[in-house]
Each structure stands twice: as C-alpha cells, then as structure tokens.
Symmetry: C2
Subunit: 361 residues, 2 copies
Amino acid sequence: MKTVTVDLGARSYPIHIGSGLLGASVLYDPCLGSGQVMIVTNTVLAQHHLPVLQGALASRSPQTLILPDGEATKTLATTERIWDALLAARFGRDATLIALGGGVIGDLTGFAAACYQRGIDFIQIPTTLLAQVDSSVGGKTGVNHARGKNMIGAFHQPRCVIADLDTLHTLPDRELRAGIAEVIKYGLIADAAFFDWLEEHLDALLDRDADTLTHAIAVSCRTKAAIVEADEREGGVRALLNLGHTFGHAIETGVGYGAWLHGEAVAAGMVMAAELSARLGQLPAAAVERTRSLIQRAGLPVHAPSSLDADQFLALMAVDKKVQAGRLRLVLLRAIGQAELRGDTDPGALRALLEHFPRGP
Amino acid sequence: MKTVTVDLGARSYPIHIGSGLLGASVLYDPCLGSGQVMIVTNTVLAQHHLPVLQGALASRSPQTLILPDGEATKTLATTERIWDALLAARFGRDATLIALGGGVIGDLTGFAAACYQRGIDFIQIPTTLLAQVDSSVGGKTGVNHARGKNMIGAFHQPRCVIADLDTLHTLPDRELRAGIAEVIKYGLIADAAFFDWLEEHLDALLDRDADTLTHAIAVSCRTKAAIVEADEREGGVRALLNLGHTFGHAIETGVGYGAWLHGEAVAAGMVMAAELSARLGQLPAAAVERTRSLIQRAGLPVHAPSSLDADQFLALMAVDKKVQAGRLRLVLLRAIGQAELRGDTDPGALRALLEHFPRGP
C-alpha cells in the first residue's frame, strides 16, 4: 500500500492506494466520527463490492443507500434522496457518509455531505481509475444542471480516500481508458518525466498490472495534491487541472451527458488544447504529435464529435465555469509537462481550431 | 455609521450600521467583483426598498429576482429558481448575489451563492432587526426541509453586510420585538453590562430610536463576530449562540413554520433554558426572573405553545442539529452574561421542565 497525504492544514487527509484495502477496518477507524454511518453506492457496485465494505464496517452497523448507475443520477433530485434518507434516520452532524463508486457517486455523495446540516464528514472509496486519480482528490463536489455539468456544488474535503485496485477488476476497458486520459493529463501539465514513463508503460497500464497502476495512481494523486495544496479553491494554479476540460465539457454537454465518457471528452479536449497551443505558436508540432499519439494508443478519441460545429462549440464553451468577466480562459501548453492558464486567447485562432479539428463518430 | 469588522482572515468582511446606507454606492464598490450582479428580494421589500438599491447599483445593471414573502419560500425548490435564473443569464464564478431582505432571503440567497459553481460572492442587506443582529453575521446559510429547519445549508461568509436602519421603518412591531429577542440573547450569553443597558433602554429600542438601535445592533454584531472569529464552523464556543434555539426550533417545527416567529420561539426557549438552569441548581431564581421580565417587557412570549406536550417537545428536540452521538446538547446559563454548552443534562430535569413550563396560545 502507498499513502499520499493531501496537506490542507486542519482538512488534511490520506489517500491509501493498493490491493485488498476495501475490507481493512483499520483504515476506516481513524476517519469515522462518533455518529452514524451511511454508505452510498450504485446497483452495479452493490453487487460486486458492498458486502466486503459492510463487513469492514460491521461494528458501526452502517445504513446503505443504493442508487441507479450512471451520470443521469448526478442531480439535485438524487442529492435530495440522500438528504431525505439521512433525516429519516435522524443522522446528526457527527455522522459520516461513505461514497463507494466512481465520480458520479463520489461527487454526489460529497455534495450531500457538504450541505447536510452545513457539512458532515465523508470518506471516498473511488472504484474507477478516473475517480482514483481525479475526482476523489481535491474536494470538488457537485451535481449537474440541465444547463451545464457540475454547476451546483461545493468544496468539501473527504476525511480519507481509499483507492483499492481490486475494485478496478470489474471496470470495463472503456472506463479504464477514460481514467488513463486524466493520468496522461498530469504528465502533460506538470511532469514531463512521468509523460515519458507513460509512453513506456502504457501497455502494462492497459493490462492492469498492479505495480504499474499503483505507481500511476500515486504519481497522479501526488501531482494533484501538490496543486490543490497550493490553491484549494481554484483561484490560480489549480485551474491547470482543467487542461482539456473546457473543450471536454462542451463535448459532454453537446452530445448529451454519458454519450462520451468524461475521460474521453477530456482526451479529445487535450488534443484540441495542444493543437490550439501549436496554432498560437507556443508549442512545437512534435509535442502535439506525442500527445495525440499517446492518447490514441490508449484507445481514446483524438477527434471531436461530428455533431458539433464550431458555432455550437463556442456557445457551449461560453457557459463554462472558467469564463471570467465574459472572457474565456483556457489552459494551454508551453511544452509537455508545462501548462498555463490564458485569458487572452485569440478568438480567430480558436475558431480556426474548432473549424478544422478532425471530427468523428 | 458604525462599522464592525468580522475578522476571518481572507474571509473577513465589514458590517456597516446606520441610516441612509442602502443608496450609498461607495459601500458596494469595494465588495463587487468584475462579474454580473443579481439582487434577490421579496415582493414586499421590492416595493419599499428595491428602487433605492437599484439606483445605487445602476452602473452594474443588476438583474433582479423577486420571490414570495415568508418562511415558506426558504426551500431547496426556491434555491433552484435562483440557480436557474443565474444559469439562464450565464452568470460566471465572478458574479455577485445581493440579498435584500430578512433571514429568509439572506439564508436562501447565501446558500444559493455558496453552491453556485461551488461558491460565488454575496452581499447581505438585512432588512429586519433579527437579520441585522443575527443571520447576516457569521456565514450560516441554508434552507428548511420538511423534517427540520435549516437542515440543508453551508458556511459561506458574505463580502459585506449593510444594515440600514431606514429599512426598519416598515418593519411590523411584532418583527421588531422578535429581533429584540436575539439582542437580549447576546446580553444573556456573554455581556451582563449589555443586559443591564437593555433593561434601561428597552423602551427607546421599542420606540426605534436611531442611536439606541445603532448601539444595540453594533454591540450584538460585535459579540457575534467575536464568537464566530473564535469558532467559525461551530466546533465549540459558537454553539453558545444557540441559547434558546433547541427549544425554539422544536416550537417552530411543532406549531408549523411561521405560526411563531423565530425570535418569539427563541424568546420562549431562552426562558425555558434559564428555568432549566435553575432547576439544575446552576442559576439563581432572581436571574431567571430578570430574564423572564425583560423578555415579557419586550412583548415576547414567556410560555410554550399549548399544542406541544412534553413528549412532543422531546421528539422534536431529538432531530435538532445539536444532537451529538445521540445525546442532546443544550446551552444553559451560569449567570446573566455567562452561558455554557452541556451534553449531560439530566433527562428527568428536562422532562420536568417540559411538563411544568407554562403553556399559552
């Protein structure tokens, strides 16, 4: 087991990474307050992993709430279901919520914890690679709105994160690849050596080799933790984590949530950001090609959806949270391993990118 | 104008208290970011005060959302109306919400700001005495749930608070008195000299004398600010602000929101807390009588509702947020000006109080 600590003063917490962690009571004990415990999960994970978790928490007699699987669950209405269940069972402010699931369950449960009686503890047990390297680290919680992804939410740090590689055994290949998109992102924005390592070890990662996965997750979490420590509430450097996300969110919203996985949309978005950086003369063509090539080898899309033309892209990007004072802010690349936030992107170059970027299904 | 500063590091903010402040652009300018501005208010306040505020903000072309008056508005459904309006108008993370109203508008708008895109700025313009001395100070935001008051919410500090005495001109006498209940509370929990001052100046306060009001509001805000500074998220001393509130919330829930005003329920609750303290042998009978007498002189209830018997009280108090590990925590008095949080209240003494406390309409 490797442990990465996110150092946020009174809100610091450990991320435990390894195999066989789900059933280890010893990991939960230090993070559970004196109050009641409720596990929130979905129908698929309840089948595969819930009994082990319930066993580990048996002495606390946890309640369980099982939600439908999928992004459509990540709504305010579902959050209300969690709040209703907590109130019906008379949970107090000393209660703990445990999120067993991917980003949907984690973001939703974290948001429910953030606003229940103005904030109770929660523990993240991310069961997808994407959630293990991204959404479970950094305290962003929230739900979708018909007009945009993650529009309603809060910053609320978990008490601990337990990333058990065993939960990845049942993860479909497509979702594993979507998680690798975010792993590649950490190389692109902050760590050229890790990008090199990924070029070398991508096949082992795709084969789910345990040591390779552990290293990739630990480096990703450490990179994200360092950025979150420097900027917990996204006033500055944390925005770099959004490489590919402004394009990606436009894709996800444009094609309808769930048609593209988040990681797939971000993968295409990172290629778009790299190519825009090259069009603006700040990134060599060879770096764009290495980016595109690694993403393609990971089985991820390097095209935009054919259903979205440039005008639709621009309209969708205009509602993104990264818009400030009416100006679109984009994360661009200076090199592999070096990203920067830009609020002055030439609109002509952006439109040219959106018009000429390859489209696919 | 008096200004009280709430010192919370990066989240510090001023509370301006005085007459003619609503239309003073100079007070808003330092608190407004670069983004769009939306005023949230209710139908009654829109008639009396909205034009002056819109005038002060004219250079920012604020949008306005006018909600129904009353506690029934303080729901998650209304919060969604605010979020829908913000998204429809494409408000970004640099936007500011302005709450023009009493506790309902303030708590609701603050919660909407707390969770819109994980937190945007907001300004409080409290228009009731209760909101000026209580809900607009300290960052507690939230909405009611069918199973309890303020069950869903967040801690989110305003950028500034503008308490304009002119907005109290249109306040009904009953609501003025409800605000005085919370003013009396500050004397009871932390400031015996202020309690003495209130005994002397209560009539001037009831007559809405401007200097008397300014002093009472400033002392109340300073007392609350000092407590919030010591304990922003209610881990300890902040709980003292809940004197009378556990009984009060039970009353409000038991008779149905709005039948008793919050301040009325807290007034009765403070007499109950004082009397329970005396029953436990920790407060002299004379102090109970001074408490009861001042509250009665303020035209506030010193009885509990006849519709609630002891069992109903106990059941309603059991869902209160102050319950920890299944144990009721109550704020009791050691003296006028000295409160303490107790988690070990003798259940027999509590039941005896609830059985014998006078009932009224």
